[in-house]
Amino acid sequence: MIPAAFEYVRADSVDAALSALTEYGDEAKLLAGGHSLLPLMKLRLAAPSVLVDVGRLDDLRYINDAGDYIAIGALTRHRDLETSSLLASAAPLLAHAAGHVGDPQVRHRGTIGGSLAHADPASDLPAVALAMGATIVATGPNGTREIAASEFYTGFLESALAPDELLTEIRIPKLDTQGWSFQKFNRRAQDWAIVGVATVRANGSTGVGLVNMGSTPLLASAVMNAVKSGANAADAAALANEGTEAQSDINASSEYREHLARVLVRRSLEESGLS
């Protein structure tokens, strides 16, 4: 399978990438590791006329302690996240979940920025970003702006990024983590989750992100509120489907996904230390 023809522009700086986006507008798509976009292009489900390759922007490949938060450059690869000692101590949920994205080959090439910006509800890291209350930094022609992960996902494969903006950094708040859990249910190890759940309990509150339970990555708000009001894991998990719109596909009916969400949320809460 071969993608439809396109023009290829390699950006050697953030400014060059932004100029290309300004020049080509809606016609352009950003290419980072390419492990979400290229498969879609090969299936001709995406056919951008210009690809702006930001994959060489090594300036955006870092994991730094920035005081109140961990700053992660958009071009940081899943393998970097998986093996980061800083993340292992400061954001173990993210490091662990990154180690379950795709397979080793995918993790060597795929990036956190690409994964978050692609906005696939079936991807693992968006749910983690939601659960952890991450902030996404977008850089555009007029400078940078911060977007809360909870406001980032606007529709299927759609985000709050403007066509002329580049996701440049992800900020993970430094949490005093009491417990965390990542549950991924799939049929083959390398597959996308049929349903996944990311949970972190820290600083007196509980964040729960859902994978593949609607057209966007979702926060399990009803579960989070119930835990906040003192519900136990079983009672809170019973609310896992509130606000979700699980789809039926070859892997699972929507009813089965709802069942999985309740089971996996309960496991996830219990593994995070909630009784």
Partner: protein
């Protein structure tokens, strides 16, 4: 567009369309047909090569993305008639049946041992999750990788 890559230690150039996939460039332009195309959907791992020393699926990269980078394919492993230890371990442990997945398996296995020189059987099975063998010959593939790990650990002691 013109690209130049270093493949198996040799600089090679070519004129490609932006949409040319790396695996097609390797096979069709550079005649390196040891890298197989299996599923063509980044699932099966038959097309696994090393990009800058790490395993990657060459069906899910543009040739343009590899411009200027260092690549290793299955053809770059043996030194003349002397097989790479991983290739020899596959041979000695019957780690292949039809052989179609083998180049990708060997490349993925070398990358796996680079990252984890002393894996458990479970580590090997999980580490090869990106490679499918439709003969289902996993038992001896895992055995081959463990043999290679044991051999190199023995040598380094």
């Amino acid at each position: 567009m013109k690209i130049t890559v270093t493949v198996n230690g040799v600089e090679r150039s070519g004129d490609v369309e932006p949409r040319t996939l790396l695996v097609h460039f390797l096979r069709d332009e550079l005649d390196l047909t040891g890298t197989n195309i299996g599923c063509d959907t980044s699932s099966c791992g038959a097309c696994t090569i090393h990009v800058e020393g790490q395993s990657a699926k060459s069906c899910t990269m543009l040739a343009a993305q590899a411009d200027g980078l260092e690549l290793t394919t299955i053809e770059g492993l043996a030194n003349g008639d002397i097989l790479h230890p991983m290739q020899r371990c596959f041979q000695e442990n019957h780690g292949l049946q039809c052989g179609y997945c083998t180049p990708g398996m060997v490349m993925a296995a070398i990358s796996l041992l680079d990252e984890n020189p002393n894996p458990s059987e479970t580590d090997v099975r999980i580490g090869l999750e990106g490679n499918l063998c439709r003969c289902t010959g996993y038992h001896n593939i895992v055995k081959s990788v463990l043999a290679c790990a044991a051999e190199s650990n023995g040598a380094s002691r």
